[in-house]
Amino acid sequence: MKKQLLLVLFALVTFVTYAGGYRVSVQGQRAMAMGHTGVAVVNSAELVFFNPAGLVYLENKLNVSVGASGIFTDVIFQNEALGVSAETDNGVGTPLNVYGSYKVNDWLALGLGVYTPYGSGVTWPTDWAGSHLINNIDLSAIYIQPVIGIKLSEFFSIGGGPIFVSGSVNFNRNANRTTSDFEGNRSNITVDDSGVTNFGWSLSAMFNPSENFRIGFSYRSEIILEAEGGEATFANFPNSPGVPANGTTTFDAELPLPAELTVGISYEFCDKWLFAFDYNRQYWSVYESLDIQFGNGVEPSVNPRNYKNSSVYRFGLQYEATSKITLRAGYYRDETPVQSGFFAPETPRNDSDGYSGGFSYAITPKLGIDVSFFYLRFEEIDESYDFGTNATGGTESFGGTYKSSAFAPGLGLTYKL
């Protein structure tokens, strides 16, 4: 009982992950509760995402995991020199995941996953101090992935599968710091597109050197979402040939969903305990610039991003408290891909610490409820975006002090047969 209490406390004071950029690392309730570790954890159908190679080591023939989280994010901004401040009013992000796996025979497992590993929803007050960089953004990408897991031996298996992505974006910002119509309403541009599709793949492997020790490896390929012929809306521009005309036109833009490499271990000890460690390497350097071409001949919008590759270190702990209750907790350190001077308020992320916790409750031997939550803590940071373009083509800077947080409770169901 004392041990249980300790773990509950640990779960309460520890929190979880989200990741830098617009990566949303909430791809499984059980994993989430353990700091989003899982590349070497054989636990549930969540392996479809974390490591399809591990599916063949699941005990049951049929495994299903579904889950969703509500992500509450908040970003505050202030600039003491200018006496301005702002706070985002973001909608609730709802990453979801549906996984199923079926063990065809002793060496072959098939699976299917639907999950949302990338997304962003940031809404600043319209016309706030940084409105020339962003008023609001809503970005999402749904991954649909069939996978296969093949056991090569008791010690080693491989897995992977193709990924189909469908993405959407809605992004609004003011044309620059000053342009407005005759009455002073700020000129702004909205780009909107959905159903932007592309393909990618993942490949994974699992190595079990001993009964209670596993090593996992997983690689998910980079996928570039290419929006072509999306809708761009120009609004509140003054009636003048010197500026773009109001109305809609088309736009083209590319947004990379970077590749991710994960290696990790899990170790069972003292019968009921499991420790997991994952290392993620996210290949953000592909995100060099967000460039938007418009169909109406307006100068393309060029927004250097210059992200760097980044790492996340994840630690998770699981304890089977009773036959019905399993407790989990985790911690991770998430390094930002955003470099100094490129801190844009559309993805205001600096390095962060994630604390997570959760539990599973077996309603029946076949059906369990998974509860998770995480809290992502950011240090406040003085940063700026120094590569803005002003109305006359000059390079300008916008910055101040930012502080963010994210909190996400999640709920899932696990079914096994």
Binding site: D74, V75, G83, R177, E183, S240
Partner: protein
């Protein structure tokens, strides 16, 4: 069930706990500080600049962005109170009196069919600001467009009397906000018991004279100390200015209010006087180039006469290869019409007296002359009045046309040129005014901002801001609106920052600045006729 409640409680707690908060939120007490000043009731006194007038009109977004309104927003973070502004009814810039438009709409930058930009009056909407619609004050922003120093004094009571607008005795902008038809600006300001004030007045005491090309009277030269006898285009006598300014400062500081004073910029810092070059006549201009040899032939005869009379320096020659100076009338030159008539008669016959009168005080402009902005729309154009006059004298249409081209064959009139002696009169008055302002600031322990030297820097190289530079270049420089005289919102923002510096230095305050690049410059619109 108990478990559910427990976890819900934990979740709720978590939600509350995760709201981010800064270590030192700027909303905290003590982030900003008013020092020894008290911003609880700030009153801004001045002219069109203080009011936020620009582009030849007073309009809402201009008022919102006046340096005084920007200052009040920064003061608000250090104990500043509400700052009321007598907003006009729309953004057109124009105004009505009794339903009839008496003030023109403002200037916008419009593109013609060839894509060439130029200033034009906005015609997209009719003005709705009715001067006779007197507002219930008092107002913290007491900037009165057009006001000179002495217009603000107690002696100028009635400056806001609607009955005097038509005759020009009163000021329509003050009519809107005056507490009564017999009120004066200073009384209305002082009655608000300001705890802090800014005073930027005196620009119009020289600008009326300057923008009109010096057609008014220099009341320093005239030795006239009675402002009630002054015309709108006169230079205010230095002692009259000093008396008025001292009265204003004395009354504003009577209850111990702190404040900031601003000095006055040189006209050479304003694009109104620096945009049109003295030598705008290009041989590449298809309307001018082909005429050069003919013009020089005609002027050769005139130049011989100038030489004969002993004023060869008045010779007029247009270059075939380089830009040439315009021909101007310099009223400081000895009028040689009579002699010239005699000398020209043998070769020009009956045309001689007409030519002599036209060129009796003419010369080509030099780099020392300043052409005012409105000259750009007349140079090289046919002066139809003069053309009709010459036809009336019996000249052929062709001949009359040849001698009626502004700045080429017809010397530009006084109103288009500030000649060196006029500039000297302006500068002499300005130096005296500025000495008065600075000494009164020092004597009363007030903050002082030398806006003149900053504007000089803006005009000579520019001043860097976030993402660019502001200069006084007409239309594109960023510092001035399209009337070439009034600052842009961006220049207002820059001015506000400099004032905040001065206020911090004098009163030990700690105040936030603004980013001038957040403020606009000129207005684009093709809603013009």
């Amino acid at each position: 069930m108990k478990h559910t409640i427990k976890y819900l409680a934990i979740l709720a707690l978590g939600l509350v706990a995760c709201e981010p908060e800064f270590d030192n939120p700027i909303s905290d007490e003590g982030t900003y500080d008013s020092g020894s000043a008290d911003f609880s009731n700030y009153v801004a006194l001045g002219n069109s600049i203080t009011a936020g007038y620009g582009g030849g009109g007073l309009y809402i977004t201009g008022q919102e962005n006046s340096y005084a309104n920007i200052l009040s927003q920064q003061f608000a973070l250090a104990g500043g109170g509400e700052f009321t502004t007598p907003f006009v009814s729309d953004n057109t810039g124009g105004a009505l009196l009794g339903g009839t438009q008496i003030l023109e709409n403002r200037l916008v930058l419009a593109f013609d069919e060839d894509g060439n930009p130029g200033p034009a009056r906005y015609t997209g909407a009719s003005p709705t600001t009715e001067i006779g619609n007197i507002l219930a004050g008092p107002f913290n922003n007491m900037g009165v467009p057009g006001a000179k120093s002495f217009h603000l004094t107690a002696a100028a009571a009635g400056y806001g009397n609607i009955a005097g607008v038509a005759s020009g005795l009163s000021n329509p902008y003050f009519v809107r906000i005056a507490s009564s038809p017999t009120a004066s600006v200073i009384e209305d300001a002082v009655s608000q018991n300001p705890t802090f004030f800014s005073l930027w007045i005196g620009n119009n005491d020289i600008l009326g004279y300057a923008t009109s090309g010096g057609i008014g009277v220099d009341q320093n030269e005239a030795g006239n100390f009675d402002p009630t006898t002054y015309g709108g285009n006169d230079i205010t006598n230095n002692l009259v200015f000093a008396g008025a300014y001292e009265e204003l400062v004395t009354k504003l500081t009577a209850n111990g209010a702190k404040g900031v004073l601003l000095n006055l910029a040189s006209v050479t810092s304003l694009p109104f006087f620096t945009t049109v070059p003295y030598d705008p006549l290009s041989p590449l201009d298809p309307n001018f180039g082909p005429q050069i040899s003919t013009l020089n032939e005609v002027y050769a005869g005139l130049n011989q006469a100038f030489a004969f009379i002993g004023v060869p320096e008045r010779s007029i020659v247009f270059s075939e290869t380089a830009a040439s100076a315009v021909v101007i009338k310099d009223e400081s030159l000895t009028d040689i019409t009579a002699t010239l008539t005699t000398v020209l008669t043998p070769s020009f016959g009956p045309l001689a007296p007409i030519l002599a009168a036209q060129f009796g005080q003419a010369r080509q402009a030099t780099a020392e002359d300043l052409l005012v902005l409105p000259s750009s729309s007349v140079i090289g154009q046919l002066n139809t009045d003069r053309f009709a006059e010459l036809v009336g004298f019996g000249l052929s249409q062709e001949m009359a046309g040849q001698f009626s081209v502004e700045g080429v064959s017809l010397p530009l009139a006084d109103q288009y040129v500030l000649i060196p002696s006029e500039q000297a009169a302006i500068e002499s008055a300005r130096a005296s005014y500025n000495a008065t302002i600075q000494s009164l600031a020092a004597a009363n322990g007030l903050a002082f901002y030398d806006s003149a030297s900053d504007l000089e820097q803006v005009a000579n190289g520019g001043i860097e801001i976030n993402g660019g530079i502001i200069t006084s270049t007409f239309a594109t420089g960023g510092a001035f609106t399209l009337d070439g005289v009034h600052p842009s919102p961006r220049a207002h923002a820059f001015t506000a920052n400099q004032l905040l510096d001065a206020i911090q230095t004098t009163y030990g305050a700690k105040l936030p600045r603004v980013d001038p690049s957040d403020y606009g410059t000129i207005t684009l619109s093709n809603e013009v006729n």
